[in-house]
Symmetry: C2
Subunit: 331 residues, 2 copies
DNA sequence: ACATTTAGTGTAAACGATTACATTTTTGTT
DNA sequence: AACAAAAATGTAATCGTTTACACTAAATGT
């Protein structure tokens, strides 16, 4: 593996000159530059990024910390971040916290030790407490979940509006006995609940149930069974993320109920299966590609200028109305 | 950010001693060790991994190169690899090639430049050609797809057996006009096809169609439509990966056909949706957790001992029979 | 009592790049 | 032709570790 010294020697120049050529400095004579470049080519030299990082005290790596890579939303985000990062010559270290604050802390430390240039992440709820400590250190951008202190760059969905729109859609399609399943691991669930409530209020309706539960398929399944078995069964179920939607869907099928005739179902996030099941699921699609790209861009901007005032970008979801919430037929 | 020098100074020792304590060397007096440790605690010192990598010429990072992170199989693999790696104190750089040889080459270079200790990856078909060049360099483990030269560690599914089992299952359940959709981006599709053929031969049947197509939902959809519109419609469709399964399922629904009465459908890999659709999909589940862990372990072993002779681990898939291939009822 | 081993520690040279500063070469001016 | 200014290049320190080697002091053997 040739080093910059080998190149310098072979090209008959000093390492400084090679470095300058590499950096694209314009203080190198064209002739020399060519000579160095062809030597680099010849020796198949590639600069050692570790050495470069050590010397320049910065790296071309960013960390991506997601709470569950199995959630298709985060999978999509990962792709977008990765694409955006690699376009800028950055690599991505992926970390998966499973909503576990201990793992989160571990990974933030790891990323710190790896000298990443910045971090994009979806924090656990417990993170807000640590935010102040963390802030001093590495540039970071929060995605998906608001943190208390507005002292950070964030890319969020307008969750209240999305919850409102999805709920309104149900109401306007004739559903009145609404139950909601909300993830309890983040503010996202809370905000979507806020929109849910607001919509109900605006139509002078009362929620039949509001459950805050862990964002897992199993939990969605169990809670939905419970709701379905109550005397006054809901005629529509609102779920605040796709894992809960999957669980709810399973439960409904398990009880041999018809969607949407017996009970409608709506949720969040485009998934492979949402369009495949019968009926397909009505949902709010998040602009994952845009979220990932925006977060990456914000991060680069902050790396560039750590002093700039924090910015929050709020994106809109898109209602995709499908069979699972088709207008209610009078019975 | 304190460095080892700061610790050394504060503890009244040399940096060498601090380093020895850090490395757990037993050539340090207990009293000194304690003093150093408490100084480290006090200053909240954490070793700089970049400097460590540079000096020791190795790093605690591994690269994971997958061909499509949106494929739930690879998502699952990622998780497993990540967990296994972090348990050993390694971080994971994630790369996504989209089956694009150019991206693959780019990422392999990036990983090389990042001085990763090793790479786990699912190569594109074009990779085999580059294998010999690549071999000299970084330790790596191939997953999911066999490469020509057996000169590499590999963790694979017994794809021929899996294809055979899945096909036999269809035949034994009374299906006779079988069509197969196989991914054309890897050897995996070919091998599953081999099992498919073998099973048909053993039962003296002829395949109705064998299509090798890009592993995308859209392609699966279009090809299935084409198959369904032929005069002699298949009574069962075999798909070699979950994206093709999804596409096929969509197409079947679009033509308003009943699964499995009009046409059965089987595929590979556990997905969220496979169990949710009606009827749920029969499939061969791969032991993703085990694949990921095994690959990571093999990689660590190879990093440890680069000279050892390559090893191929072949794991068995598990048939999960569900409604989409229920025994055929006589018409 | 002296030589020899052993344990504990320090010194300083790496690892491979970047970069401030010094030096040399080129160019331009008179 | 001489000098100044500008351009090109080189020298060497530096980033934060690890580690071969050197050294000291104490322990052991004779």
């Amino acid at each position: 593996m040739p080093s910059i010294k080998d190149v310098a020697r072979a090209a008959g120049v000093s390492t400084a000159t090679v470095s300058r050529v590499l950096a694209g400095s314009d203080h190198v004579k064209e002739e020399t530059r060519q000579r160095v470049l062809s030597t680099i080519e010849l020796l198949n030299y590639r600069p050692n990024l570790v050495a470069r990082s050590l010397r320049s005290q910065k790296s071309a790596r960013i960390g991506l910390v997601v709470s569950d890579i199995r959630n298709p939303f985060f999978t999509a985000i990962s792709r977008a971040v990765e694409d955006a990062a690699y376009e800028q010559g950055y690599s991505v270290l992926l970390c998966n916290t499973d909503e576990d604050p201990a793992k989160e802390e571990l990974y933030l430390n790891v990323l710190h030790d790896e000298s990443v240039a910045g971090i994009i992440f979806s924090p656990t709820q417990q993170f807000s407490a640590r935010l102040s400590t963390f802030k001093s250190d590495i540039p970071f951008v929060i995605i998906d979940r608001a943190v208390n202190a507005a002292q950070a760059d964030m890319v969020l969905l307008d969750n209240v509006a999305a919850g409102y729109e999805l709920t309104t859609h149900l109401i306007q399609n004739g559903y009145t006995r609404l139950a909601g399943l909300f993830g309890n691991a983040s503010t996202t669930g809370k905000e979507r609940n806020k929109g849910f409530r607001k919509a109900l209020e605006d139509y002078q309706l009362k929620p039949l149930a509001e459950q805050f539960i862990p964002p897992r398929i199993q939990q969605g399944y169990e809670t939905t069974l419970m709701l379905l078995d109550q005397p006054n069964r809901p005629d529509a179920i609102f779920t605040s993320n796709s894992l809960l939607t999957a669980g709810a869907f399973q439960a409904i099928r398990y009880r041999n109920l018809k969607v949407p005739d017996d009970v409608a179902l709506v949720g969040f996030d485009e998934t492979t299966w949402g369009a495949l099941v019968d009926p397909p699921i009505t949902l709010i699609a998040q602009p994952t590609e845009e979220i990932g790209r925006t977060a990456t861009e914000l991060l680069f901007q902050r790396i560039e200028d750590p002093g700039r005032s924090p910015r929050t970008v709020i994106l809109k979801g898109k209602l995709i109305a499908r069979g699972s919430s088709a207008p209610r037929v009078n019975k």
